[in-house]
C-alpha cells in the first residue's frame, strides 16, 4: 500500500519571511492585513466614509458656513442654492452646517455605546465560557432573555423612563447591545478552553484571571472588533430612530434623526429638509457596513465569500 504522503505543494512565490522578534512578527502581520484591506474596495470605501464622519465631527466649526443654531425666519425653507448649499429648515437654519454638527452626536453615540456594551458583553462571555457549569447557565440565560427582547422597543421604554436625552439614549442602546458580544466571546472561549496552550498555562499554575486576560481575551478581540464595526451601523440606525421619535438629543441640538422628524411636516413642499439628514445616515451606516464586511473578509478567513 502506498504511504499516502501529501505531496509538497510549490511554495508561494516570494521569499519566506523569518521574523526575528515577536513585535516584528506582529507588525508584519498587521502590515499584511492592512495591505489586503487596502486592496479590498469595500473596506477602502468604508474607511473613507468613516474617516469623513470623524473629520466632519471634529472640523465642523471650521467647515460650517453658518451657525447651526442661528434662526433666520426670512430665509425659512430655502431650497439648496448658493447662499445655503443644502437649503434651510423650517426655522431658516443652514442645513449644511447642521449636517456637519450632526456628525458629533452620531459619532459620540456610536463610540460610547460600543465602549460600554462590547467590553461588558465580552467579559460576560469569557466568564461563562471559561468557568462553565452554573456560572455559564445563569449568565447565558440572562443573555438570552435580553436578546429575546426587541432592541428598539426596549431602548424606547428605557429612554421613556429615564427621560429623553443623548446620554440616556446611549445608556438604553448599550443595555440592549451587549448580548451578541457575550455569545461571540463564549463561543470563542469554549473552543479555546481545552486547547493545549491554555491547559499548559493552567498546568504551570497560572491563575484563572491571568489565563482569561492574557491567553484567551486577545484571541477573541478580532471577532469582537468585526462584530462591533458591523454593529455600529445598527447603532446609528437605532439612535436615529430614537432621535426621530424625539427621544434622543433634544432641540435645538443638530441631530440627524431629529432633523428628519422636523422635516416630516414639510416633506411635501420642502423635501430637502428631511432628505438631506436621511442621506447622511444612509451614507454613514453604509460606510460602517462596508468596513465591517471588508474587515471580516480580511481578518476572518473562515468567512471568505
Amino acid at each position: 500500500m502506498i504511504v499516502a504522503s501529501s505531496p509538497s505543494l510549490p511554495e508561494p512565490v516570494g521569499t519566506r519571511f523569518e521574523p526575528s522578534s515577536r513585535t516584528q512578527a506582529r507588525l508584519v502581520q498587521l502590515a499584511r492585513a492592512l495591505h489586503r484591506a487596502a486592496r479590498n474596495p469595500s473596506t477602502l470605501a468604508g474607511s473613507l466614509i468613516v474617516l469623513a464622519l470623524v473629520f466632519a465631527a471634529i472640523l465642523a466649526p471650521l467647515l460650517a458656513t453658518h451657525d447651526p443654531m442661528a434662526q433666520d425666519l426670512a430665509a425659512r425653507l430655502t431650497p439648496p442654492g448658493a447662499a445655503h448649499w443644502l437649503g434651510t429648515d423650517q426655522l431658516g437654519r443652514d442645513l449644511y452646517s447642521r449636517l456637519l454638527y450632526g456628525a458629533q452626536p452620531t459619532l459620540m453615540i456610536v463610540v460610547l455605546v460600543v465602549a460600554l456594551s462590547a467590553p461588558f458583553g465580552v467579559a460576560i462571555g469569557l466568564l461563562a465560557g471559561y468557568f462553565g457549569g452554573w456560572v455559564e447557565a445563569v449568565l447565558m440565560r440572562v443573555t438570552d432573555i435580553v436578546m429575546a427582547f426587541p432592541r428598539l422597543i426596549l431602548a424606547l421604554a428605557l429612554v421613556a423612563v429615564l427621560q429623553p436625552g443623548l446620554v440616556n439614549a446611549v445608556i438604553a442602546i448599550a443595555i440592549t447591545a451587549w448580548p451578541p458580544y457575550a455569545r461571540l466571546a463564549r463561543a470563542e472561549t469554549l473552543s479555546l478552553r481545552h486547547s493545549e496552550f491554555v491547559e499548559a498555562a493552567r498546568g504551570l499554575g497560572m491563575p484563572s484571571g491571568q489565563i482569561i486576560t492574557g491567553q484567551i481575551l486577545p484571541l477573541c478581540l478580532s471577532s469582537a472588533a468585526i462584530r462591533a464595526t458591523l454593529d455600529m451601523a445598527g447603532i446609528i440606525l437605532t439612535a436615529a430612530g430614537l432621535g426621530f421619535l424625539g427621544l434622543g438629543a433634544q432641540p435645538p441640538m443638530a441631530e440627524w434623526g431629529a432633523m428628519i422628524a422636523a422635516g416630516r411636516d414639510h416633506i411635501f413642499d420642502a423635501w430637502w429638509v428631511a432628505a438631506v439628514p436621511g442621506l447622511a445616515i444612509v451614507l454613514v451606516s453604509l460606510g460602517f457596513n462596508l468596513l465591517g464586511d471588508g474587515l471580516r473578509d480580511v481578518l476572518d478567513p473562515k468567512h471568505h465569500d
Partner: protein
C-alpha cells in the same frame, strides 16, 4: 474495428492562481473499451480531477482542454449543459468516496435512486419504484423495502455506498467511474463492496475506471493500470505484470509494500526526483 468506449487525448485541467494558471492534470490520454482500468496515484496527483473532467464536472474557474474527449460516438468537447445532463447518469456514472457526504441527507434513498430514472426515462411511478427496488436488491441489500424508505443517516457506510452504486447503475450506463469507492468504509466492508462492484461491472459488461491510492487492490481488480504523479501519467502497466514497471516512482511504490520477503526489514520510504515531473 469496434468503436472504443472512451477516447481521451491530451486532457489538461488548469486552475488560475495569483501567480498564474497551475495545471492539475497534464496531457492525460486513455483509450478504453469495456474493460477495467485502474488509475493510481497519491492524493493531489490529479486522478480525481481527471475523472471529473471526463464527466464535465470541473467548475469555473477551472479550465479543461483536450485534443479528443469522446464517449462512444459522442464528442464531449463543447457539449452543451443539456447535452451533459442527458449523458450523466444515462451513459456514464460515477461513485464518490464517502456516502456520508455524497447522499442528499434529507431525501429518502428510494427517492434518490428514482431521481436518476425520472431524469432519463419516461416511465410511470409504479415502474420506477419497482426498478429502484430491483436495483437495491441487485446491489446486495437484503431488505430493499426498508432501505428504500430510509434516510442516508440511518444507513451504515457500506449500505450507503451500495445505495450510491444503485443510483449510478439504475439507468444502465456503459461507463462507470469509481473514485476511491471504498476508502471511507470499514476494512471489513471494503472487500464486499469491491467484489460487488466487480460482479456488477463484469455481468453488465461495463467499462470501469477505478481510482485509488491502493496499488495492490487496483491490481487485483483491473486489467490495466495508469500511474499518475503530479498531474501526469508516468506509467501504464498490465495488471498481471506489475514487476515489469520501469518508472522509478512506480518501482519506489512497489518497494514500499510489505510482503513476506520484507519481513523483519524496515520498509524503504519513497525518495522523490524532480525529473519525474518533467517526463
Amino acid at each position: 474495428m469496434m468503436q472504443p468506449l472512451l477516447q481521451v487525448h491530451g486532457l489538461t485541467v488548469t486552475f488560475p492562481t495569483p501567480s498564474g494558471p497551475v495545471p492539475v492534470v497534464r496531457d492525460f490520454s486513455l483509450t478504453m473499451g469495456r474493460e477495467k482500468i485502474g488509475v493510481v496515484g497519491e492524493s493531489g496527483s490529479g486522478k480525481s480531477m481527471t475523472a471529473r473532467a471526463i464527466l464535465g464536472l470541473v467548475r469555473p474557474p477551472g479550465q479543461v482542454t483536450a485534443r479528443t474527449l469522446q464517449l462512444e460516438d459522442m464528442d464531449l468537447m463543447g457539449l452543451s449543459p443539456r447535452g451533459w445532463q442527458a449523458l450523466r447518469g444515462k451513459k456514464a456514472g460515477m461513485i464518490l468516496q464517502d456516502p456520508k457526504f455524497s447522499l442528499n441527507p434529507i431525501k429518502r434513498i428510494g427517492n434518490q435512486i428514482e431521481e436518476t430514472l425520472r431524469l432519463h426515462e419516461p416511465i410511470r411511478r409504479g415502474e420506477r419504484r419497482e426498478r429502484a427496488l430491483a436495483m437495491l436488491e441487485a446491489v446486495g441489500i437484503d431488505d430493499p423495502v426498508r432501505v428504500y424508505k430510509s434516510y442516508p443517516h440511518e444507513l451504515s457506510g457500506g449500505m450507503g455506498q451500495r445505495a450510491m452504486i444503485a443510483m449510478m447503475l439504475v439507468s444502465s450506463p456503459n461507463l462507470l467511474i469509481a473514485d476511491e469507492p471504498t476508502s471511507a468504509l470499514d476494512v471489513v466492508v471494503r472487500e464486499q463492496v469491491l467484489r460487488l462492484l466487480d460482479t456488477l461491472v463484469t455481468d453488465r459488461g461495463l467499462g470501469l475506471i477505478l481510482i485509488s491510492h491502493d496499488l495492490p487492490m487496483v491490481a487485483r481488480f483491473c486489467d490495466r493500470i495508469l500511474v499518475m504523479y503530479r498531474g501526469r501519467v508516468v506509467e501504464t502497466l498490465d495488471a498481471r505484470y506489475l514487476d515489469a514497471a520501469t518508472h522509478p516512482y512506480t518501482r519506489g511504490l512497489l518497494a514500499c509494500l510489505p510482503s513476506p520477503a520484507t519481513r523483519g526489514h524496515m520498509l524503504p520510504t519513497l525518495s522523490r526526483d524532480p525529473s519525474w515531473e518533467a517526463a
